[in-house]
């Protein structure tokens, strides 16, 4: 087993024995779709199959939350002193950061597996290509969000409380001002402008396009794909750069 796999498995096995946290995420999704989603779908008349629209939006929200959790987790590790230990291990930094990133990816895959399966079943009539494109988009979005939280982590080295407050505020704004629960064309002008700043808008619209939703109420897919790619590359790159400078420049733990 490689160093990357060992580091991932060392933590992951505790997430899985027993997988309480993961199952809770699944139950939360099930409850949200079965109760709130079903009720709200009866109220919304402007969008056909709103329950499916809502389910996709909820999966995108989960992706965002898991991605941001991964980023925050890293900062917590620095504060509780685990990171210095990992930094002292006889492996290259690149390997360590790759392991931490992939661990977030594996957690994302585990937590999203059942909700995504339920959503795809609910939508039905899918091709392998559209399913793969959906999964890829969600991962790309997850990495971008984790990178965003990592890029914000420089605040945590000054004040953990400030970091928590800022990331909570950013998260709330990014989710509310996005198209996860309502299409862009139905939003008032001011809200629509704000929603265009949220990465979730691009993630949600691209996923919906791959899953066969009406393209007329979605963003241009090329633009959405470009924005998500730019987000993932820039935030992960910036996050890795900042962390390498910060983690090795300040005393933590």
């Amino acid at each position: 087993m490689s160093s990357v796999a060992r580091i991932i498995w060392f933590d992951l096995k505790h997430e899985l024995s027993p997988p309480v946290w993961i199952v809770m995420e699944w139950l939360s999704f099930g409850l949200q779709i079965a109760v709130y989603g079903a009720l709200i779908a009866r109220l919304v008349t402007g969008i056909t199959n709103y329950l499916q629209f809502y389910a996709v939006g909820f999966v995108v929200m989960m992706t965002f939350e898991i991605g941001s959790h991964t980023g925050r987790h890293f900062v917590e590790h620095a504060h509780e002193g685990r990171l210095p230990y990992l930094l002292s291990l006889p492996i290259p930094r690149r390997t360590l950061f790759l392991a931490i990133t992939l661990q977030g990816g594996v957690e994302l895959a585990l937590m999203l597996s059942i909700p995504l399966l339920v959503t795809l079943t609910l939508i039905g009539n899918l091709t392998i290509v559209s399913t793969i494109a959906t999964v890829a988009t969600l991962f790309w979005l997850g990495f971008g969000v984790a990178g965003l939280m990592l890029a914000l982590s420089f605040i945590a080295f000054r004040s953990a409380d400030l970091y928590s407050a800022i990331t909570a505020a950013v998260s709330a704004l990014i989710i509310r001002f996005s198209t996860v629960l309502y299409p862009l064309i139905f939003l008032p002008q001011q809200y629509a402008s704000a929603a265009l700043l949220s990465p979730l808008t691009y993630g949600a619209d691209l996923v919906r396009l791959f899953l066969g939703f009406d393209p007329n109420m979605l963003l241009n897919p090329t633009i959405a794909a470009a924005v998500l790619t730019a987000l993932a590359i820039s935030t992960l790159g910036l996050g890795a750069f900042l962390l390498q400078r910060l983690v090795e420049g300040v005393k933590s733990g």
Binding site: R6, F10, G81, P84, S88, E248
Partner: protein
């Protein structure tokens, strides 16, 4: 080759300077003890050598490898036992050690046997399947030390290896550290415990406010304190003409005071050579020495002598 060499090493955290142009060396296969109060820069130096922290400026080399230019290679030849046990809260001691041994390349064939042995040696066997968060402070600290004893790297760094550990545990840890040195490992120990330093050190570096104050063997450091050795004497007929005066003129005497009838206290340098001269003198003067008690200075006194402050009262710079 020097095991560790730093030249003009600086480390700054915001406005606070933890290391102020530190020049420091460690010879191969010795136990070097860094002695200094909290905040003297010990941990910062250790973290820089372990490539966990980057220095602000200056040079630091481990076994000839530059910590900035070749960090991965440096990490491959060293291991560090941190000051605080690093929290894998939901993991168990045995699996933490297994993970560490595997990542550090301990051969599979002897890994399990070694882990079992170290767990027993450090009296962690009964706690091997407890969650880390349920370990006592002493157990967590011993686990931190156990990682290095399993890894057995060419260069081992221990940051306050026996803090929070009971007396019996301290002895075990100290013996294990000495064994490491005897097997050829270079050991660097940071501590503010005088007894730990005296027990372990081949040489001691006194660190204060981010600077290397003095470095030598424990014996030499103590000998450098003029009048550091205290000799308490009981002599029949101490009041005999000129005896006290003659003792005060003996080579090595810094000060001598009468403390009672036929009793005096002499502050001397190197008591081991002063006492024979004193007995010679008394013999010549036909005076009987009935009791001699020698107290040598502690490393606390050494710190006081070289820095002007007691080890425990020294201020922090971080």
């Amino acid at each position: 080759m020097l095991a560790v060499e730093t030249k003009n090493l600086f480390k700054q955290y915001g406005k606070a300077q933890a290391l102020k142009g530190l020049d420091f060396t460690v010879d191969e296969k010795e136990i070097m003890v860094l002695l200094g109060p909290n905040g003297s820069g010990k941990t910062t130096l250790l973290l820089i050598l372990a490539t966990v922290l980057k220095p602000t400026s200056g040079i630091a080399r481990v076994m000839g490898l530059d910590v900035i230019g070749q960090p991965t290679k440096v990490r491959q030849i060293l291991g560090i036992s941190f000051q605080d046990a690093r929290g894998f809260w939901r993991h168990k001691p045995a699996e933490i050690l297994r993970f560490h041994a595997t990542i550090c390349g301990v051969p599979k064939i002897k890994r399990e046997q070694l882990i079992d042995q170290i767990l027993k040696d450090l009296e962690l066997w009964d706690a091997r399947n407890k969650l880390f968060m349920h370990l006592s402070g002493g157990q967590a600290k011993r686990l931190e030390v156990a990682k290095l004893l399993i890894q057995r790297p060419p260069f081992a760094i221990f940051d306050e290896p026996s803090s929070q550990v009971d007396l019996r545990g301290k002895r075990i840890i100290w013996e294990d550290i000495r064994k490491l040195r005897d097997e050829g490992t270079t050991v660097l120990v940071a501590t503010n415990e005088v007894r730990e330093a005296e027990y372990l050190a081949d040489r001691v570096t006194v660190l204060d406010q981010g600077k290397n104050v003095v470095c030598d063997t424990v014996r030499s450091l103590k000998d450098k304190i003029a009048g550091g050795d205290i000799v308490e004497l009981q002599i029949e007929d101490l009041d005999k003409a000129g005896l006290l005066e003659a003792l005060s003129r003996l080579e090595g005497t810094v000060k001598i005071t009468q403390t009672g009838e036929n009793q005096c206290r002499a502050y001397v340098s190197m008591a081991e050579s002063w006492v024979p001269k004193m007995t010679d003198l008394c013999y010549k003067k036909n005076v009987r020495v009935t009791s001699v008690r020698v107290t040598e200075p502690s490393l606390d006194d050494v710190f006081l002598h070289f820095t002007g402050r007691a080890l425990e009262a020294a201020p922090s710079v971080e």
